[in-house]
Assembly symmetry: C2
Homo-oligomer: 229 residues x 2
């Protein structure tokens, strides 16, 4: 009797819910980014600077993940974003289920982009798919240039890495090229941008990247809709 090899992929509960979330986001035609970094790398400051540049023409929702406080949600609301705060009460990462639970409270149909700001943690959130289009890892130049190899998982999983706080580079011992090379070794498909969310350098390139991604997503959707007819 021939031996038949059957490959069966067992999906975790998180993966199954992430697939549902991804379909919900796709049906609404929104681009979704899951932003992951250490505490204090500048996730919220990046969102503030991004909102200052796009909130007048694009509808942006933010899902804020934090252990405690609504501080980050207050900051992005003040810059014109809608959205919701998730307090994990000690939990060290967001999960697809936490995202699914708040989707009913968001007006996805009217939105263009959803940013999910994950809990400040470079380890635990890295392998939890939330249903996003882009898993974005944010690094701060002040954290030292040895981080990719020390925290490899998030660099394996990310499709975009942003090096923030480049305005402080003149005051730091930091080898940018080393960081770029380490990321490329871990994940040759990971795109890399450099910017200072606070001072503005590099922000135009990031906004262009975001617009292109949004246009590509809409192109995919239109072409998918055409194929569907």
């Amino acid at each position: 009797m021939a031996k038949v090899s059957i490959e069966k992929r067992i999906l975790s509960e998180n993966d199954r819910i992430a697939i549902e979330n991804r379909k919900t986001f796709a049906d609404a035609g929104v681009l979704v980014l899951n932003i992951i970094s250490s505490p204090g790398s500048g996730k919220t400051t990046l969102l503030e600077a991004t909102l200052d540049r796009i909130a007048r023409e694009l509808a942006v929702l933010v899902i804020e993940g934090d252990v405690s406080t609504e501080r980050d949600m207050d900051r992005v609301r003040a810059r014109g974003a809608g959205g919701i705060q998730i307090n994990t009460g000690g939990g060290c990462h967001l999960s697809a289920k936490m995202i699914r639970e708040v989707l009913g409270e968001l007006d996805l149909e009217s939105a263009d982009i959803v940013f999910i700001e994950n809990v400040g943690n470079l380890i635990c959130p890295s392998t939890y798919d939330l249903g996003e289009d882009v898993r974005l890892v944010l690094l701060s130049a002040t954290e030292g240039d040895d981080k990719p190899m020390k925290y490899p998982s998030i660099f394996h999983e990310a499709s975009l890495a942003i090096l923030n706080k480049t305005d402080l580079l003149p005051h730091l011992i930091y080898d940018t090229e080393k960081v770029m090379k380490e990321i490329a070794v871990l994940n040759p498909n990971c795109e890399i941008l450099r910017l200072s969310a606070l001072q503005g350098e590099g922000m135009d390139t990031w906004i262009d990247w975001l617009r292109e991604k949004l246009a590509a997503k809409r192109g995919e959707q239109t072409s998918g809709a055409r194929r569907g007819t």
Copy 2:
């Protein structure tokens, strides 16, 4: 029949092993510090700067916790510390069990101080007792002044908070007094020091603090031994 209230504290496996570790450390007469921070706050740089100041007169062991690489262990070995690297292979914190497993490989009897550098993570390591004398939370001024209330657990648990990278304060928007106040609200017993491990300011006060703690620990032990006779 009188109602008798019996308070029974159920210890977790981690707590039970931490008690054993604490006894092992006490029997060897070593002072043990568990250093917790975000990735890139300067834990290893603080150890390097500390070793430069004490390694000639005190025997220092370091237990290095990292998801991946031996980079930090290489750095502290170069400054005169003995010790061992624990790679968690994805695990987001050290546990009392991981510490117990390496104790046999360390010459505790000849050591004065053991530094345990936890995995870079401000959340998960906060509630895992390893058997240390001092739980030390390290903050970097570059991470922003909103961290204590956003990550309250580690500030509840720490007996010492160190604000590092004070040399960068002139280039940052950072309200040091706000941070001090938030820590005091979360934990009035938490001592606070400020320093720049890289540039040296505040290092003398930290080294004095460490020496006093070591002397106090030895005083306790002597007095305990006296009581025992």
